[in-house]
Amino acid sequence: MSDAELRVPFPQRAGAALKDAFLQEALTIATTKFIDLRKEAFAGFPAGEALRDQARRIKEATLQRLDAHLGRLADNVERLGGHVHWASTGAEAREIVLRLCRERGVRTVVKSKSMATEEIDLNEALEGAGVTPIETDLGEYIIQLAGEKPSHIIAPAIHKTKGQVAELFSKALDGRFAADPEVLTAAARKELRQKFLDADMGITGANFAVAETGTVVLVTNEGNGRMVTSLPRVHVAVMGMEKVIPSMTDLMVFLAILARSATGQQLSSYTTLVRGPRQPGELEGPEEFHLILLDSGRIRQIAGPLREALYCLRCGACLNVCPVYRQIGGHAYGHTYPGPIGILLTAMLRGTESVKELAHASTLCGACKDVCPVRIDIPRMLIELREHVDQEKVAPWAERAMFRAARRIMSSPALFRMGARVGRLLQAPWVRGGRVRRLSLFLGRWTATRDLPPVAQRTFSERWKDLAGGPPGDGRRGRRAP
């Protein structure tokens, strides 16, 4: 999202999304489908729960010695004839890619879907340097034609209906296209075929990188990833440093739960294992292979409060079940990674200040934690993030004052009782038929769409004397009578 768009406050971005009928239709259909598919996939997979625990343990253990695993990965990639680049920031990663393009006279790049390259705004950088990036994943292709950003981690065009895609293709490509997914896919395939053959460089992300073998693993469903990694003469993979895993055995654990969590598949249609450039005697593969290892705020969090977010496999399951994401979609969040995990990743990559509003864009219902393949405790981290937003004093002054006042009231029964009396007096003009229908200021936000029960004429504490028929309690009773 551009800086200008980000200046629109989050509640307004969310409000606009709620009014977008196409978006609402697309989101409901897609997220409901994903939820059902995931549920079915794990229902028929009794080993799934234990594998989720195991996957989490692998991530925990790997982060403990991340430097060693990354070192081993780099050694093995280089032994295979590949090149490894270390980028501490997104800007550094972009510069590495641009330098490779310049040195090798690259004019067009085909890309397979990659959130890491979205994170570093690589397409914009390539275009700025006169290199044409072409997205080859269907969803990414759609949003590239539309001039948009992904709104979901695995389904970048989830916000579009097939009717909208047909309209877009009919404008951008040669011909008129029906709102039929098969017709539209065929059109994109035809358009992209020649681009694969013409491209000088293929750029991918990486779902995993296996340290013991130097293997970069891509999990895809369209086969485009394979062509990106094998047809152009140079292959560049950009990956966050936390994506390294120790062994092929570990990989099997992750593969067993990743696609099930993401799309409900047992395995995705293509699992591509790339080991360096074309080896002597091999018929296919690029002449050069480059692996860019991206830090960009990740390493700092190994010992930080957002550590668990580094376990994320980018499956998108937490987005699909999030009541907030299901209503507002990904764009309203305003950053590369949307949804509950996206709030944490944004805090990691861009700092606490950037999520002072987003930290509250959750009902803390916990559905995200329930479906996360590695059981990241997202609600807990969101609460902690809110705590940091308070401590670093990026929360609005009035809000902090209000919560401090709330503490005073809740710490004093006398103030609490007085609050009830004041509430009863103030609400009197607004109570109709036992309901409060319209209040002003802060509470008006509630009563605009919902009634509120009034503060009771007699609170429970006030009624207790009638109920008890005895002296006030000392807290000692509570036993079941014999």
Partner: protein
């Protein structure tokens, strides 16, 4: 423990709970001076403030044998989060752990502690049950409330499609992002009305405030009731 919303906005739920518990032979006591468990402060990130409020609550219930709470979220706060608020203070941490052990959400207290599954309630009607997030995911409880509803002779329980999906309350979320909160609520209420039930039952004042407020604003015939109101027959009808 009455909870702040229970005391101020839903005293009838507390009255129903007292009647229900006494009917089951439980001696009920109410330590006076209760305010709030501190959850709203905690969830908004004001942990220091939450600890101050929690300390008060711990003192009030120091001598109670069982602490019964008509709200999944407050029970979750006491059971799951209180001990962590005092991680640097072993004495208060022990007190928090003791309170956590003695505290139960109402439906769990009835089924697990009292072993009750059948309550003779005069209530008659078709109800559907909404799983409150903190009770369902925080305390892992989905069966006890359903068991009790099925066990009440005049109650017909119909399952709510998407019962485990949030109603959109989320505490301060409901006023920070009222439009989003309402959109989530609309989805929930459409589902509730689709069941044809007379009432939607929940075990959390927050959800009842949200769903009840939405139903009443729409002029719906469906009522939002607390489990205790259904089981005691003190449903105000």
């Amino acid at each position: 423990m009455i909870t702040c919303l229970g005391d101020l906005l839903f005293p009838e739920v507390g009255v129903a709970m007292v009647k229900l518990l006494r009917g089951l032979g439980v001696e009920v006591d109410f330590p006076e001076g209760q305010t709030c468990c501190g959850l709203p402060l905690f969830n908004s990130g004001y942990h220091h403030e939450a600890a101050a409020v929690a300390g008060r609550t711990m003192a009030l219930f120091e001598r109670s044998e069982h602490v019964v709470v008509p709200s999944g979220s407050c029970a979750w706060m006491v059971k799951t989060e209180y001990p962590g608020l005092f991680k640097d203070d072993p004495r208060r941490r022990a007190a928090a752990e003791s309170l956590a052990d003695r505290t139960r959400e109402l439906s769990q207290f009835l089924v697990e502690v009292l072993g009750v599954t059948r309550v003779e309630s005069p209530f008659r009607g078709t109800v559907t049950y909404h799983d409150s997030c903190h009770l369902l995911r925080g305390l892992g409880e989905s069966r006890s409330p359903r068991t009790l509803l099925r066990g009440a002779p005049g109650v017909t329980l119909v399952e709510l499609p998407g019962a485990d999906q949030c109603c959109g309350f989320g505490g301060s979320f409901s006023v920070r992002l009222p439009e989003v909160s309402t959109a989530i609520l609309e989805r929930k209420l459409a589902s509730v009305e689709g069941t044809g039930a007379d009432c939607v039952v929940a075990c959390d004042a927050g959800c009842l405030m949200q769903m009840g407020g939405g139903l009443s604003r729409k002029g719906s015939r469906v009522r939002a009731l607390h489990l205790a109101q259904v089981l005691s027959g003190e449903d105000g009808a």
